[in-house]
């Protein structure tokens, strides 16, 4: 166990202590203070990896877990996982600090909150650092579960429960699909390690499971990262407390899918399916999310849709970047790696500004009691710091200088422009779509950013519509967003620090084929000003068109309401959920009738259909009667007697006749035993038959008076068919089996019963000596039956007093 393992497991271990700390100190000190050191420690620990990682080192440690299955807790620290690890712990620490001021000490169940949060943090760390795909899957599911718990933190609210259930269903669905994809990968390569899969992938890219494995893995990534059409869970997850929304649903969990796509780019990238699916789904998500974000009136919903849109942007960049692998790792393909670089850069930027924006929205909610845009306004002078913060975050999101969003947006445009000139993947015809969609989506992004900033802070203050008297937030609540916002600005001015220390090693992890130095040269020269080029004009166009659209927003916003309410992904989801329930209930109600006769029909029908099919398929019928004994006249007479009494049971009008016929049947069988020379059987059969008939008569005597029917058995055609079928099946099988003895019977052994067991009665010798164990259990059955009758009758008589049906 190395330090990195301890660091990953630290949140889990510490989560055990949290309830004790809560119990002991919660009346004095907010529990969050005890939790905050954890992410700080891990963050500082991870910082020391930057130097070795940026110089190209890879740190690989193994902790045996299930070595026989090839499942070990292997950690792989490279540029990609380090970026995520720093984001998770850095923003985690800030979110915990924020939550100390956001979550009230008295009202909230803080121990639950911090346990779930620590579970999530540990799972997320494990996810990004583990190299074993199955361990990755384990952590993946723990993030789903802890996110479920966090969304439903205020479980008294139905909307929280709905949102939690929805996110659970969708992300677990994707997680399971991903597991299937992982299993396929492990089958193809014979290894569970991502790095080894990457090194072996060249041999199996053409394998039959390549595309299914890719699709299933992508399904997992898309559901987790809220890509179209699985994005519907993210807006409903906004019912969680705001620190959670800031942490999970903007900075970390939704990026797990991004991480997965980036991590598996060396495996699948270069395939045409991967390129098209990832980039097109990302593009659709981006424009869809940005379009719907404009519609929202709830600040958190707006941010949720904007998260969806930004995730789509990153996803599409990862798709476009994979084109560089299709060319092989040559000098000219290096120009397409800028898309991957932009993806990783925007990933960091998005985490900073979106985290800060969520915190600002939380502050507004906390201080005014509402998140509704229509009720807010004019907060600029009342909450100046929040206003500044939201301007920084909002402008960064819109892609304006001097904030880091501008840089990644420019790189994004560079990528789509270069991608549109790709000479492969039929991009000559469709390529132009990418810049157009990207530009339109950016315009919408600009519009909702302006709505977010100016609808909230500009305009007229309406104190009468707010639940509280608005004022600036406490300092502790402002520190985390201030830290994040300063990062937004710092990254703009010094992008190359991040570029050299984090982006470059992460690109080396995503595109490991590029070994030459020049491949990622754009990283070193990220700068705000690079002359008058197409990207700059696109940004200027965005500002102009975006401003026009924002100013005329009232005039065209009715376009959102032209589509009917039912025409949305949400209603499809709800209808599917409801439909599957009603259909399943309908099916169950249809066949689970509660009548034993129906169940017997299923059992017997299945029995005869299955066996007859087997007989037919295997051609098992062979009626060989050469070995049969000659039929004597006594046997014929007895069989006729059996048939007559059996028919008597079937066609009797009264129950008494039926019982007598059953008795006759039993006695004839006893006679059959006699002529087949089985005296013990005959004796037993006689006595048992007598007792059974007596018991039948007893039951008959005690039938209730009302509705006593003396009608004959009602005729049903299905019953006739099924009973005939069962009869035919049994007869066929018995005759076939009888004519085809595979080996000699073993009865010759029992013929030595006198020598072996000292008994001349072979049957008895078998019962008590050779196979005495069966007899032992049979008398046990008998005595249990006797005790059963006794207790049934005695307890009924006494009446236990607590009848369950009443």
């Amino acid at each position: 166990m190395s330090w990195i393992h301890i660091m990953i497991l630290l949140p889990f271990i510490y989560a055990i202590l949290v309830p004790f700390l809560y119990k002991l100190y919660s009346h004095k000190l907010h529990t969050g203070w005890f939790v905050m050191p954890i992410p700080v420690i891990i963050f500082i620990y991870l910082l020391q990896y930057i130097t070795p990682i940026s110089s190209g080192e890879k740190i690989y440690t193994t902790l045996a877990w299930m070595p026989s299955l090839g499942i070990n807790f292997t950690t792989n620290v490279d540029g990609l996982s380090l970026i995520f690890g720093l984001l998770i712990t850095g923003i985690g620490a800030l979110v915990i600090l924020y939550s100390i001021y956001y979550m009230a000490k008295k009202r909230e169940a803080l121990h639950n909150f911090y346990i779930y949060l620590l579970l999530f943090m540990g799972a997320m760390l494990g996810l990004v650092f583990s190299d074993n795909i199955f361990v990755l899957y384990v952590f993946w599911e723990i993030t789903s579960i802890s996110s479920f718990l966090l969304i439903a933190y205020w479980y008294q609210r139905p909307k929280s429960r709905y949102g939690a259930q929805k996110s659970m269903l969708i992300t677990i669905f994707g997680g399971l699909a991903m597991l299937a994809g992982f299993i396929m990968l492990s089958m193809m390569t014979g290894t569970n390690s991502v790095q080894e899969i990457i090194s072996q992938m060249n041999d199996v890219t053409s394998g039959p499971l390549f595309v299914p494995a890719m699709l299933l893995t992508l399904l997992g990534a898309f559901t987790k990262s809220a890509q179209f059409p699985f994005s519907i869970w993210l807006p409903d997850a906004m019912e969680a407390p705001t620190p959670i929304s800031a942490y999970l649903h903007s900075a970390t969990m939704v990026k797990a899918g991004i991480y997965l796509v980036a991590r598996f780019t060396p495996v699948f990238g270069g395939a045409v399916e991967w390129f098209w699916i990832v980039s097109v789904v990302g593009m659709i998500t981006m424009i869809w999310g940005s379009f719907y974000a404009v519609k929202q009136t709830d600040l958190k919903a707006l941010l949720a849709y904007s998260t969806i849109s930004q995730l789509g942007l990153i996803m599409s960049l990862l798709g476009l970047g994979s084109a560089s692998m299709a060319f092989g790792f040559t000098e000219e393909s290096a120009m397409y790696t800028v898309a991957t670089g932009a993806a990783m850069f925007h990933l960091i930027n998005h985490a900073t500004f979106k985290g800060s924006l969520f915190m600002v929205v939380g502050i507004i909610d906390y201080e005014t009691g509402t998140r509704d845009i229509r009720r807010l306004g004019g907060l600029m002078t009342i909450m100046p710091i929040s206003f500044t913060l939201s301007i920084i975050g909002g402008f960064a999101m819109a892609g304006l200088p001097p904030f880091n969003g501008f840089l990644s947006k420019e790189m994004f445009f560079t990528s789509v422009l270069r991608a549109s000139e790709l000479p492969i993947f039929s991009m000559e015809t469709f390529g132009i779509m990418f810049p157009v969609i990207a530009w339109v989506a950016s315009v919408f992004t600009f519009v909702y950013c302006m709505i977010l900033i100016f609808r909230t802070f500009a305009g007229k203050h309406q104190p009468e519509r707010l639940e509280k008297k608005a004022h600036e937030a406490p300092v502790g609540m402002l520190i985390p967003p201030i830290v994040l916002s300063s990062l937004v600005v710092i990254i703009f001015f010094f992008p190359n620090i991040i570029g050299q220390s984090l982006l470059k090693p992460s690109l080396a992890a995503i595109l490991p084929g590029f070994t030459q130095d020049g491949a990622f040269e754009f990283i070193t020269k990220i700068e705000a000003w690079h002359g008058f080029n197409t990207e700059l004009f696109m940004t200027i166009g965005i500002v102009i068109f975006g401003t026009l659209l924002y100013l005329s927003h009232k005039k065209w916003s009715s376009v959102f309401y032209t589509l009917p309410e039912w025409f949305s992904l949400n209603s499809v989801y709800n209808a599917a959920l409801e439909k599957s329930e009603t259909v399943a209930r309908g099916i169950t109600n249809n066949y689970m009738t509660g009548f034993i006769r129906d169940y017997l029909v299923y059992i017997f029908a299945f029995f005869s259909i299955a066996l007859l099919t087997c007989v037919w398929v295997l051609k098992g019928v062979s009626l060989d009667i050469s070995n049969n004994a000659p039929i004597s006249i006594y046997e014929v007479i007895l069989v006729i007697g059996i048939v007559i009494s059996a028919l008597g049971v079937l066609f009797s009008k009264s129950r008494l006749t039926a019982i007598i016929s059953v008795g006759a049947l039993g006695y004839i069988i006893a006679l059959l035993f006699v002529i087949f020379r089985a005296p013990d059987l005959a004796l037993t059969q006689l006595i048992v038959e007598t007792v059974t008939v007596a018991l039948f008569l007893l039951c008959f005597y005690h039938l209730p008076e009302f509705k006593k029917e003396h009608s004959r058995v009602r005729f049903r055609i299905t019953n006739l068919i099924i009973s005939l079928g069962v009869g035919i099946t049994v007869t066929l099988l018995a005759l076939s089996a009888q004519g085809n003895k595979l080996f000699e019977p073993i009865s010759s052994y029992f013929e030595n019963s006198y020598e072996l067991a000292g008994a001349r009665n072979m049957v008895n010798a078998i019962l008590v000596d050779f196979r005495g164990f069966d007899t032992l259990l049979e008398i046990l059955v008998l005595s249990v039956a006797g005790l059963g009758v006794y207790t049934l009758i005695k307890l009924r008589k006494q009446g236990s007093g607590t009848n369950e049906t009443e």
Binding site: L683, N761, L780, G786, I793
Partner: protein, 140 residues
């Protein structure tokens, strides 16, 4: 008011012994001839049932003070114990053995452990059969 069934009573008194003798015969004959614990047990149970039919249940219980549920349990226990007994001779569970002995009155007699097992079977059968019939007849 019960009818005066003196005939039934008299016949029962004689028949009981005949049936009981027969059932004991069936039991011991089982080793070499048709019969055995199961049939012997059922025949013995039929004696008790006949007594129940002819006389009152209370009367029979007074003169035949047997707990039939206990008898069932003891029967199963005996059968299990004969199985366990074979462990003392380093033999697998339920190994039976037999040998011939010279006894004072009977001359040469074959004694088999299987008979002990069969006694367990017979006791379980008697106990169960009588328990069932008694419970149902007392049900009303």
């Amino acid at each position: 008011m019960r009818p005066n069934d003196i005939l039934l009573h008299s016949v029962t008194k004689i028949a009981t012994f005949i049936i009981l003798t027969f059932s004991i015969y069936l039991f011991f004959a089982g080793h070499h001839n048709p019969g055995g614990g199961f049939i012997g047990g059922l025949a013995t149970a039929s004696v008790v049932v006949l007594l129940f039919l002819a006389f009152d249940v209370e009367t029979v219980k007074k003169y035949l003070p047997l707990d039939f549920q206990l008898m069932t349990a003891l029967g199963v226990l005996l059968a299990v114990l004969t199985g366990v007994g074979s462990f003392f001779f380093d033999a697998p569970f339920l190994s039976q053995t037999f040998d011939y002995f010279e006894l004072p009155i009977f001359g040469e007699v074959e004694l088999a452990t299987a008979v002990l097992f069969d006694i367990g079977v017979a006791m379980a059968v008697i106990g169960t059969a009588v328990t069932i019939i008694l419970s149902i007849s007392e049900a009303d």
